[in-house]
Symmetry: C2
Subunit: 119 residues, 2 copies
């Protein structure tokens, strides 16, 4: 796969994908004879996962750590599992933030409607 295809399916921009490779957040991507990146479907899956993780607030340091453990092999699975479980907790926190913001917005909007309705 070409970089533009992976960008389309992962939701990352082409620049972000190159940035992720350069900073070791994903395994190095193979190149074709002309020097262009040639993504395996495994690479593409990896970038989709990264996209989802960053969208939900995982710092890049953690993503890099995850990529490094992946390179090492199955021996790191317990550690990788731990990292994903911790991210799971982060999702809970984010959900709570969303809930709180939603309440606040509902309150504000109700006040606005009251002011507007009273006109």
């Amino acid at each position: 796969m070409r970089i533009s295809e992976v960008a389309a399916m992962s939701g990352l921009t082409i620049d972000t994908i190159r940035f992720y490779e350069k900073s070791g957040l994903c395994p190095a991507i193979d190149r074709d004879a002309g020097g262009k990146r040639e993504f395996s479907s495994e690479d593409a899956d990896w970038l989709c996962l990264l996209s989802s993780l960053r969208e939900t607030g995982m710092p890049t340091g953690e993503m890099r750590h995850f990529a490094e453990m992946y390179q090492v092999g199955d021996a790191t699975i317990p550690e990788r599992k731990q990292l994903l479980l911790e991210h799971s907790d982060r999702l809970k926190d984010r959900r709570a933030d969303l809930d709180q913001c939603e309440q606040l917005l509902a309150f504000k909007l109700a006040r606005y409607d009251k002011i507007l309705g009273g006109k």
Copy 2:
């Protein structure tokens, strides 16, 4: 209220509060005789709202716009309402991102458990 109290109740850091004031994301804060910021409860509420909005992904440009409209007065309420409604949509998107990530994590974790259990 002092800046440290507002930081504690809003969840923003002291630095972030100063940064928000400097960049016009909140109305200018009154100072006491010694030049220290003296926050009204209205200021504190405002910063709590900002904290919640930024936590859920509102860009600072939008927050600034919101603050400017607030300064103008009640005439801007329809526009402010619109802005909050748009942020509400953003919350929906974020929730969808969380759901998707949760599914992905569940899938990954199940695979890890399978590998670990099969040992």
